[in-house]
């Protein structure tokens, strides 16, 4: 049986491989190729070498600004989301009444699409800012914190579920033993709970980092980059470059390739670091 499987593994993985090649590998390679060309439609392209990559930085500061804005945003939202999600998970794994209801409530925002959320939060934030005679497009700072709030609201519930699963996976014997040894609840949290939920932390930081970098629809719906592109994130900037001026599709594509490289390397570093913190029992 084992031998059979070895003999035919290529055959059995074929459907998946085909799907992978069509839906992932070909677009990926085509995408990289197109970043070195000038094209209007993907079937009609001319090789231009590195000029797209140069244009991405030399034409205007939009791309650089977007990278900085996105990096700041990712940093702030990764920290805040994980702190909130972990706190909520701790609270909701205690035996208090209605935990299931609370879990559902906190998870709900995750089920709403980003565009809808963006518009709803735009209304809410403008409703507050109108008292000061301005709106969210007035300054990039408003847009930034608006995005942070929105992202937290949307992601905290999801991360909370992962943390809850992690916390529930900790065997109660360990905690009991610690209590008998006289550990207080802070010591239990610090020395038992946190080290043991590190795998969940790895997953959650991974998800929040990637999601923060890739944020597009929330950004589009909330500020669309206003004022004057200063609140646009990388994905939105790529989109605007691609569709904004004729003949600049290649530059947009070059930005997308760089974007991929940046995100991939950041996530690799993050994974390596938080994996090293994990303890196994």
């Amino acid at each position: 049986m084992q031998k059979m499987a070895k003999k035919y593994y290529a055959f059995f993985t074929l459907p998946t491989m085909i799907a992978f090649v069509i839906a992932f590998l070909i677009p990926f390679i085509l995408g990289i190729y197109l970043s070195f060309t000038k094209f209007t439609t993907v079937t009609n392209s001319q090789w231009v070498g590195l000029s797209n990559y140069i244009h991405a930085f030399t034409d205007d500061k939009n791309f650089l600004n977007a990278i900085i804005f996105t990096a700041k945003f990712a940093l702030v939202s990764v920290v805040l989301i994980n702190i909130f999600a972990f706190t909520l998970a701790l609270l909701l794994t205690r035996t208090i009444k209605g935990t299931n209801i609370f879990r559902t409530v906190f998870f709900m925002p995750n089920l709403i699409g980003g565009i809808v959320l963006g518009y709803i939060w735009q209304l809410i934030i403008n409703g507050i800012l109108i008292n000061f005679g301005v709106d969210i497009t007035y300054s990039a700072t408003y847009g930034f914190w608006g995005l942070v709030v929105l992202m937290n609201w949307q992601m905290v519930g999801y991360m909370m579920i992962i943390y809850i699963a992690g916390i529930q996976g900790i065997s109660s014997e360990l905690i009991e033993a610690a209590e008998i040894d006289g550990a207080n609840s802070w010591q239990i949290l610090k020395s038992i709970t946190i080290p043991l939920v590190m795998p969940a932390v790895t997953i959650c930081t991974f998800l929040t980092v990637t999601n923060s970098f890739k944020l597009f629809d929330q950004n589009l719906a909330l500020t669309a980059g206003a004022p004057a592109r200063s609140s646009s994130m990388i994905a939105l900037d790529i989109f605007n470059t691609f569709y904004g001026s004729m003949g600049y599709e290649g530059v947009g594509q070059a930005k997308a390739v760089m974007f991929f490289l940046v995100v991939a390397s950041i996530v690799l570093l993050q994974l390596r670091y938080s994996r090293s913190k994990e303890t196994e029992i």
């Binding site: 969210i136 007035y138 990637t210 890739k214 980059g225 974007f259 991939a264």
Partner: protein, 461 residues
């Protein structure tokens, strides 16, 4: 081992995510770009052939469903109409035209659009529809070739509600006695500012509807309003809008005139200038329809929008156009702005049979009785073809006002020169600067500078 597997998996995952992000910008774009896709006649067979039309005007997409039905009945040819959502025509076209089943009939917005799509524009010199074009100079031509046929004539200006204006003229100390007296910027400004002072008596929130500067909703200013100073610049320097080289750079020499009217709009509006960044065109038109404002800058296509607002209080006979005065000398003879940015183009890379079918369809639409009825009564287009008689014109109030301006030969038209604006990015950046100006975070000189620089950058890309 599992760790390695996990990190490998994770890398693949982000790769997939990141690629999904860039993939939407290359191969998979249609999914994002086809929200308003109205795929008519998909269920019917394609025995008589098929014409695939990529429609630019979302407001008439439903009417094309009817047209497709009628056309199928009369000729057996299936008309497939896909409508691009507002502001996404170029991107939808980009992704659709790369497909094997590409649009055969599409539209370009003038010489600049032709420059972008030259590889795809067939020569339409021999089509029947072109023979019937009343004014051949309107078409997009290069040398002997005809690459775009205009299919509708439109006009925009300041739309006003005469009921409110009459109420104002009846007040003591009104700065004018009728709208006929408003024939330059000075008078317009005096009247508007006096109306703002008396807005409570008039029962309005502001003279002008909100100047919608939300990103994506600012085309009335960065395109239509900006056309006025550019028109005068072109007139002063005798430029030819078909000459792309002449527009590598502009001076924006009438920027003060733009500022005049723009200041008037934002300072006499229903909302504070600092709140304009969240206002859409719909908000603006709704304010006008509900009688909260007396004037709004828009075109004759807006009537459907005004009359469609729930609780609309504006009477059809009260709605008229006023030219956009900006303080240029001699503007007493300025008319509203009439022109077109809608030109039919036929995909030269489609098979000759398909091209023929497309040419037949547009000829049918603008020459047969059924087609003409649709054009006049449903699409409400003022058609620039001699197949239409004097009676076959749309009868909505704005179209009527537009036609009366067109027939007034004492006035000179402000041509639609914005078709030479370099790109969407230019327009968006200029719109963004206007918003910052309205919010008070940018000085006018910087706005002017940005407009000139952005034009130069985008026109030389």
């Amino acid at each position: 081992m599992t760790k390695k597997l996990f990190s490998l998996l994770s890398i693949l995952l982000i790769a997939a995510f990141a690629l999904a992000a860039c993939a939407t910008t290359d191969t998979a774009a249609p999914s994002a770009a086809e929200p308003a896709a109205a795929d008519t006649g998909a269920e019917t067979s394609t025995s008589g052939g098929e014409v695939y039309y990529l429609n630019f005007k979302p407001e008439v997409s439903e009417i094309y469903d009817e047209i497709a039905k009628a056309y199928k009945e009369e000729t057996g040819v299936t008309l497939k109409v896909v409508t691009a959502a507002s502001g996404t025509y170029e991107q939808t076209l980009k992704s659709e035209i790369a497909k094997s089943d590409a649009p055969v009939l599409f539209q370009i917005n003038g010489p600049r659009g032709y420059a972008n799509w030259a590889d795809y524009c067939a020569d339409l010199k021999d089509t029947e529809l072109y023979q019937h074009l009343s004014d051949k100079t309107l078409a997009v031509t290069v040398g002997d070739g005809v690459y775009g046929i205009p299919y509708v004539v439109e006009g925009y200006g300041i739309i006003y509600n005469n009921a409110i204006m009459d109420k104002y003229f009846a007040l003591d100390g009104a700065k004018a006695t009728s709208t006929a007296e408003i024939n330059n910027f000075a008078t317009l400004k005096a009247v508007v500012e006096d109306m703002t002072a008396k807005k409570d008596e008039l029962g309005i929130k502001g003279v002008f509807s909100s100047t919608s500067l939300k990103p994506g909703e600012d085309w009335r200013w960065q395109t239509h309003l900006a056309n006025v100073p550019i028109f005068y610049e072109i007139r002063d320097n005798n430029l030819d809008i078909k000459d792309t080289e002449a527009f590598r750079e502009i001076k924006f020499q009438y920027s003060d005139n733009f500022k005049n009217i723009f200041d008037l709009y934002i300072n006499n509006s229903t909302v504070e200038p600092t709140l304009l960044g969240s206002k859409s065109v719909d908000d603006s038109m709704a304010e006008f329809a509900l009688g909260q404002s007396a004037m709004v800058q828009n075109g004759n296509w807006a009537w459907g929008q005004i009359s469609g607002v729930d609780g609309n209080v504006v009477q059809a006979e009260d709605v008229k156009f006023l030219p956009i005065y900006t303080g240029v000398s001699g503007e007493e003879n300025q008319s509203i702005s009439v022109g077109t940015e809608n030109f039919f183009a036929i995909n030269s890379q489609a098979s000759p049979e398909k091209q023929k079918l497309a040419a037949d369809f547009i000829y049918w639409l603008y020459s047969s009785d059924t087609g003409k009825a649709f054009v006049t009564n449903d699409l409400k287009f003022i058609a620039p073809f001699d197949t239409f008689t004097e009676e076959e014109k749309p009868t909505d109030p704005l179209a009527k006002s537009l036609l009366s301006y067109m027939s007034n030969t004492d006035l000179y038209n402000v041509a639609w020169d914005f078709v030479v604006f370099p790109s969407q990015t230019f327009k968006d950046n200029f719109g963004g600067a206007l918003l910052q100006y309205a919010q008070g975070t940018m000085q006018w000189d910087d706005v002017k500078q940005l407009m000139i620089e952005q034009w130069k950058i985008e026109a030389n890309k």
